[in-house]
């Protein structure tokens, strides 16, 4: 059974006075297997963010279902959603979303504190992750004292520390320079190699080329998908670029 199953997802935004309806997602279907690393690509306005918000249980679809390990997250009751999100999902955002009022360590602890874990358990979980992400030396610093790359690695640590089923990353490299981007993408690959399932939304070809599979979304539908299989990153890069070109041309012709 697939770990994540998205069936006939549809989302229509209605303006307040019932004027124009905007169809963000028309009919999205795809599955993600345990241990996969999937990138979702598409232009601005293609429905990527809407899709991610629905997967994150931050938004409800107009129709369709999202099954995480067979459980339909669309039907989770409002009061259980936060706990569900905390226990099953890890988030990495473009603008890091770290809290300035917490030290790096406390930022990473945040979801565990919210889950009511003890300090000892939190430290035990933190040690291997901090070592792996290379942020051991900055644990006591504050977000405004560290670089963008360090911030994003902190955010990754915060996502990993709950040991989630699925990591959702929204343009994780969007605010990073190329060096930090390389390091982060390498990290994602390593994490994935350890068995972590990752779903990443991006429009960076480079970021997508690190994934094992790339889904292309256009006008609210999954338009195409690419498997990396045994391709090198460069080959994958080329393929993705070609697909994007095709996608855009197709868009003009349609």
């Amino acid at each position: 059974m697939a770990m994540l199953e998205v069936n006939n997802l549809k989302k229509i935004y209605t303006t307040r006075f019932g004027g124009n309806n905007v169809q963000a997602l028309t009919n999205v279907c795809f599955t993600v297997e345990q241990g996969e690393y999937v990138a979702i690509m598409g232009e601005s306005g293609s429905g990527k963010t809407t899709l991610l918000n629905i997967l994150a249980a931050l938004d409800k679809p107009s129709s369709g279902e999202v099954l995480l390990n067979g459980r339909n997250i669309v039907e989770i009751r409002e009061k259980d959603i936060s706990a569900f999100r905390r226990d099953n999902l890890g988030f990495v955002f473009q603008d890091f979303n770290l809290l300035d009022t917490f030290s790096v360590q406390d930022n990473i602890f945040l979801p565990l504190v919210l889950a009511g874990k003890s300090f000892d358990e939190m430290s035990r979980r933190l040690q291997p992750i901090a070592t792996k992400l290379g942020i051991r030396d900055i644990l006591n610093k504050y977000p405004y004292e560290i670089s963008g790359g360090q911030k994003q690695r902190t955010a990754v640590a915060r996502a990993l520390i709950t040991d989630p089923q699925l990591i959702l990353a929204d343009e994780p490299t969007g605010a990073l320079d190329s060096k930090a981007t390389d390091r982060l993408l390498k990290l994602f690959e390593e994490i994935n190699a350890d068995g972590q399932t990752i779903l990443m939304v991006t429009h960076s070809v480079k970021a997508a080329s690190h994934a094992r599979r790339v889904l292309f979304i256009k006008d609210g539908e999954v338009f195409h998908q690419l498997y990396r299989a045994n391709m090198t990153e460069d080959e994958m890069y080329g393929k993705i670029a070609d697909t994007l070109t095709l996608l855009q041309k197709g868009g003009r012709n349609a």
């Binding site: 955002f93 009022t101 504190v113």
Partner: protein, 678 residues
Amino acid sequence: MHKAFYPRLAAQNCIKNGKFYFPYLLTVIFSSAAFYIVLALSQTGSLPELQRYFYLSMFMLIGTFVLGLFFIIFLIYTNSFLMKRRGKELALYNILGMGKGNIGVVLCYETLYTWLIGVGGGILLGMLLQRLITMLVTRMLRIDVKYEFFISVYGIAVTAIFFGAVLFVTLLLNLGRLRVQKPVELLRQGNVGEREPRTRWLLTILGLLSLGGGYYIAVSTHNSVQAIGVYFVAVFLVIIGTYCLFSAVSVVLLKALRKNKCFFYRTGNFIGVSGMLHRMNRNAVGLANICILSTMVLVMISATLALFLGTEDAITTRYPGDLNAEVWYWTDRPFDTDRAEQKLTEALEEQGATVIGSLSYTSTDQPAALDGSSFIIQDDVYNVNGDRILVLLTAEDYNKLSGQNVSLAKDQMLISGSDSLVGDVRFVFRGESGERVMNFTAAPTAEKFSMSSGDVYLGMVDYIILPDLDTLKEVENNCAFALGEDERTLSWFCEINTDGSDQQIAQWGQQVADPDLCGFNGDEDIQWELYRLETQAENRQDFYTMNGGFFFLGVFLGIVFLMATVLIIYYKQISEGYEDRERFRIMQQVGLEKREIRRSINVQILIVFFAPLVVAGVHVAFDFNMVRLMLVLFGLNNAALTAWCTVGSFLVFALIYALVYLLTARVYYRIVSGESRE
């Protein structure tokens, strides 16, 4: 641009910024209403030309000055808060192509609206309230003159001009700020992370020391004169201490809480403690302000309330009987006390009064210094630690006053006072020409003895019971020797109670106060230096006018300060709400439940909100001793009443405070949970 553009834009701005602007407008309305009322009351023309009616105008005049000064500071403060919140908005106008001149015109219109609506509305509200307040004032001051509603043109004019001037100053400040600000920086403002405040040990220690010093002074003061002298020192120390407490001690405390892993790593504490810690830089002063204002309100209201409720007490302390005669007589000339008492009673009965009871006694009082077991009496005794007053009585009069039955041998005496002196006690009279000594064997009185007339003394009072009148006269003579005076007089007091009404008693009093009418003149056995007779009835009115005036002013100013406190709290909550919004959004994304948001907000708000109240409560508790002592100067010596008034004021204040909390917590919650859009 179209002519109507500026006024319209200004009006839109006011409405769009309603969350900040309406409380500001309300403040202007209430402030000008309060100002108009005190002005109108101070100008009441239709009152009789009696001394006590003069008090009313005087109190209102004081009120005008205090309020005026306060409003200047407070309106400038709230305005600057308002403008800080609007920095982004104005910068946006600037970037979108409005020159600073154009924005200035809009600001002028806004100020004009504030003046028209705020001050106009305030004066109208003031007129409405004036009727009610006039009624209350006449009740409290027991003024029996009917005193009608009137419109004070003077009040309107002064209020309009005063607030016009204050608002004009705020406008100038705003324009000045506008001139120097850079729009791009303003747009980015608020995104800069606030650094964690450093631990400032020096300030922490300074704060604790000055707070401790202030408290120590307050607690260790034992007499009223001293209390007045050091009160402002103590207040000053406590104010400094309060600012340090909130800005430095709080940081130390919060950091200590953060170190406690078990406490810190729980949802509510985790978010609350770190949030507060980071905001302390800017918050500390606001919290300290709230704390100090609250303390002021509490002290003012509780003290004046105690004074007002204790008026009857103060009257009976000062005037124990319906009629109170006081006579000074010489130690070397005859004065028959029984006969004098009889004469007074007869004179009153001649006027038609029925005397129910009378009590008379002789006493003298003398400032002295205590050195070991010697009372030192000399000129300028205050310079040698003379901190006590001796009230000397004969055993006979003591028995009359206390209901005891003691008789003393020639060199015995009884003492009731602040120290328990027993055994050999000496009076040492140090005059210019030598020293005289009187030796006694002292014992304490059976029960602690005090006289209500002793309460009016400002120092420690020792009551000393001497064997007989001759000994008392000898002491008085020696005192005169020590001070180098020729006057050697004792005071004789006579308290008489009758069955008459206040009005009758006042009338009889005026008659019998004449030494010819009371039969003192022409009697060989009654030779006196001074004679006066006062009635409770005549003085009651004065006391009520005075204490009622204080109370009214206390409550009135208290309410105005309370309004200020509430507004500061409200603004603080809103601005923090907007700051916290982003944080709570992020936390929701990583799995913070709505329920948890509410809970952690509660932890944070409760601490931030009630810390000033708790500290104010502690201040007031320490201040209690001082207030009690100073009220003695106003004739109130009733610690229990003062304590109840303080506790009562605190509870009522806490209740109002809690209501404000509930209200602002809701607004805050709505902002951070994103239910209200900016």
